[in-house]
């Protein structure tokens, strides 16, 4: 729109974005100033960097290699439950990391299902801790995401091309060579980069399954410098390293990925005429079954061990659950307080600075922001007493880029489609928000709030840095129970956490679409 006039002033959005940028840059600056570069990067730091990059690379490669056949099978087969399976592929995104890891331990752990089976057969046990474990957990989280991204690529191949291939009698390897490989060449690098970037900043997985000199990520090293050595200078230096790594990985990923990765419209399936041979049917079926099994197994394990424990859960689990809900709600409110004005300002045409501000949350890991905020707060207050507000704030900053991707397109449509009418009616900003914007954006608000609550309630990052023994969120309590080998209580807490994160997401998402018109 060429008009000078806008239905709503971008001022609020710019103010909020400036606040978010100031917080993130402030945290980065605090880290940079406090980092004791004089000590240099020692062998321990090098080992952490190497392990971080190694595990992220292996996780990305393994996730993508496994995702390709699954996506291919999903793209060309129609079967009952296909939609449910595709929806299930979105679930790990909001599944709390500690819950998933707990589920994996129940299956692959020392006394887990697999090893019990192996010992019955007299075979040596599998080891889940260390590099394998970290990679297995990351594949669990990211193979579904990679599948969705690659499936999107498959569905963007025009249907006419498959029709033409069918007419020409192209099948099997020729189809792979002519259509599928060129598509994969376009899609796979971006997918690899996204998974790599996510694995570079995953903390909870490394916290539980990693450790020791040979399996410590940079983030884990930050946590250890903080909690065990109380060495802020070293934590800050490691944070600076992590910052450089994340910015490089995120920049790389952003450059390679285009379009929206939430995968709307993945439900439809293309009509395909190839792959009718029984062998390829069986192969596709096997891949889909394996993927579903791999996804459902740890979740079923949590159900199996958590249900009996639910009735006799220690008091602290319930108390921390209440704390977690409060943090999640606060975090969602903070998120919407930032994302709504920012999305309005972006949609009204102030995109440059604001869009960059929205992406900054991706360039810095939550643990690094947490470290920076700790360094800032410690000057004038006891950071431990601010553990919960800081956790809510950092979670909101982390979800901000996703929330903007959810809110901006619809907001843009509202302003472009209805902004003129509102202006010519002389509606002021508040009336525009109340009468036009909020009623129309409700579904997106619900989705963003649900996402933020689910991610926030399951987060085990900043809270692990800040919390003293008095304060704990549910994931932290669960982690402490695991550390004390109180596995039954931990299983109950895991199930509760699982129910809470999916439940909150479901309530918010449904609530947003309740009685939605038009």
């Amino acid at each position: 729109m060429a008009s000078r006039f806008k239905p709503i002033s971008p001022f609020c959005g710019i103010l909020v974005a400036a606040f978010a940028v100031a917080l993130i840059l402030g945290a980065m600056l605090a880290v940079a100033l406090r980092a004791e570069a004089g000590r240099g990067i020692g062998p321990a730091e090098w080992a952490a960097i190497k392990f971080t990059v190694l595990q992220a690379s292996l996780s990305a490669i393994a996730s993508v290699i496994l995702a390709i056949p699954v996506a291919r099978a999903l793209a060309r087969r129609r079967f009952p439950g296909r939609r449910i399976l595709i929806a299930l592929l979105g679930a790990p995104f909001i599944l709390p990391a500690i819950v998933a890891v707990f589920g994996l331990l129940e299956v692959f752990g020392r006394t887990g299902w697999v090893n019990s089976g192996l010992s019955l057969l007299g075979l040596p046990p599998l080891h889940i801790y260390g590099l394998h474990g970290v990679v297995v957990a990351h594949v669990f989280f990211n193979m579904p995401l990679a599948t969705r991204l690659i499936l999107q690529g498959w569905q963007q191949v025009p249907g006419e091309r498959f029709r033409m291939a069918a007419q020409l009698g192209i099948d099997g390897m020729a189809m792979v060579r002519l259509i599928e490989i060129p598509m994969l060449v376009k899609v796979v690098p971006g997918t690899l980069a996204v998974v790599f970037a996510i694995c570079m900043t995953s903390f909870a997985v490394a916290l539980i399954l990693g450790g020791g000199p040979r399996a410590t990520t940079v983030e884990l090293a930050i946590y250890q410098a903080f909690r065990f050595d109380f060495d802020l200078g070293r934590a800050a230096m490691l944070s600076a390293i992590q910052m450089a790594l994340t910015i490089a990985a995120a920049g790389f990923a952003l450059g390679l990925v285009r379009g929206d990765s939430f995968g709307t419209g993945l439900g439809r399936s293309l009509q395909r005429w190839d792959g009718a041979k029984p062998v390829s049917r069986i192969l596709d079926g096997t891949w889909v079954a394996l993927a579903a099994f791999f996804l459902l197994l740890p979740i079923s394990a949590i159900m199996a061990s958590g249900l009996p424990a639910l009735t006799e859960m220690p008091h602290e689990v319930w108390r921390s659950a209440v704390v977690s809900i409060a943090v999640a709600v606060a975090s969602a409110i903070l998120l919407l307080g930032m994302a709504l004005p920012m999305s309005l300002a972006i949609a009204a045409g102030r995109s440059g600075f604001l869009e960059l501000a929205g992406l900054m949350g991706l360039a810095v890991s939550p643990l690094v922001i947490g470290t920076g905020l700790f360094i800032m707060i410690v000057q004038f207050a006891n950071p431990l007493r601010l553990a919960l507000p800081v956790t809510a704030l950092v979670n909101a900053l982390t979800v901000l880029p996703f929330a903007l991707r959810i809110l901006v397109p619809e907001t843009r449509e509202i302003i472009q489609g209805q902004g003129r009418l509102a202006m010519s009616l002389d509606m002021d900003g508040p009336a525009f928000l109340r009468l036009v914007h909020l009623p129309r954006i409700r579904a997106q608000i619900g989705f963003a709030a649900g996402l933020s609550m689910a991610l926030s309630i399951g987060d085990l990052g900043v809270i692990a840095l800040f919390a003293d023994s008095e304060t704990a969120t549910l994931p932290l309590t669960m982690y402490r129970l695991m550390g004390a080998y109180r596995m039954e209580s931990a299983a109950g807490a895991a199930l509760l956490l699982l129910a809470l994160s999916f439940g909150l997401f479901w309530i918010m998402d449904r609530g947003g679409r309740w009685h939605a018109e038009a």
């Binding site: 202006m423 010519s424 509606m427 038009a518």
Partner: protein, 239 residues
């Protein structure tokens, strides 16, 4: 009276000049080939496009710099004239109170306006539950309540069939007479211009010309208009 004095409007690379006057209460058609700048002209008068040069006077008030909502101008476009998530009553009510804080007296006036456009009893419907013609009527009810001095119509009835379009045009002419507002009507259809039966502004070659008699313009069209309306229509006008 609407007066455009030496106006220049820039819309991207496109430039439109306008210098004309329309009498108070007059209904004027705006004709011209597609892409000639008819919508640009209306957008500038409505305030959605800034003036690069010149002044716009509406009943002697200079409105060229004011916010679209502060001009005494109501506009109906091809689509997006109603909020789909609000009821017909609310949509019409926005013409009275843009914040929709409606008093009982306001409600009475809205009901009267809905009755005037034959939408009695449909106030609680949403636009999606109405026919195309009814949606146009709902937008007109709002325009009636807005009581603005100038009414701009940019092909709001283009999606309707010819019979319904004629009906709506008659209704809008009646309403504008009742409210006493000046009106500019853009239309692709020459029969619409003839129905308005007054003067027409020809927009062509980057220029909005001063209004002249529609009948004379269609009988003896300048080249730009002749190419647009085609020879068949000319024959029809002669017969």
């Amino acid at each position: 009276m609407l007066k455009l004095e030496n106006c220049t409007v820039r819309n991207g690379a496109f430039t439109l000049r306008a210098d004309f006057e329309v009498k108070a209460g007059e209904s004027v058609s705006v004709l011209g080939p597609s892409g000639s700048g008819k919508s640009t002209l209306l957008e500038a008068v409505a305030g959605f496009l800034p003036l690069a040069e010149g002044r716009i006077l509406l009943n002697n008030a200079d409105i060229g710099d004011s916010h679209p909502g502060k001009r005494s101008v109501a506009a109906l476009f091809q689509d997006g004239n109603l909020f789909d998530h609000l009821t017909v009553l609310q949509n019409a009510g926005l013409g009275l109170r843009p914040d929709l804080r409606l008093s009982n007296e306001d409600r009475d006036r809205i009901h009267a306006a809905l009755e005037r456009v034959d939408l009695k009893g449909l106030g609680s419907r949403r636009p999606s539950e109405l026919s195309g013609g009814q949606r146009s009527r709902a937008a007109l009810a709002r325009v009636v309540l807005q009581r603005r001095e100038l009414l701009l119509l940019d092909e709001p009835f283009a999606a309707l069939g010819p019979g319904m379009r004629a009906q709506m045009l008659d209704l809008v002419l009646e309403l504008s007479r009742e409210v006493g507002s000046t009106m500019l009507v853009v239309s692709h259809a020459m029969e619409d211009a003839r129905r308005i039966n007054g003067r027409s502004i020809l927009v062509a070659e980057g220029m909005a010309r001063a209004p002249e008699s529609t009948e004379r313009l269609l009988k003896n069209p300048p080249p730009a208009l002749r190419d647009y309306i085609g020879p068949n229509f000319q024959n029809k006008t002669v017969t």
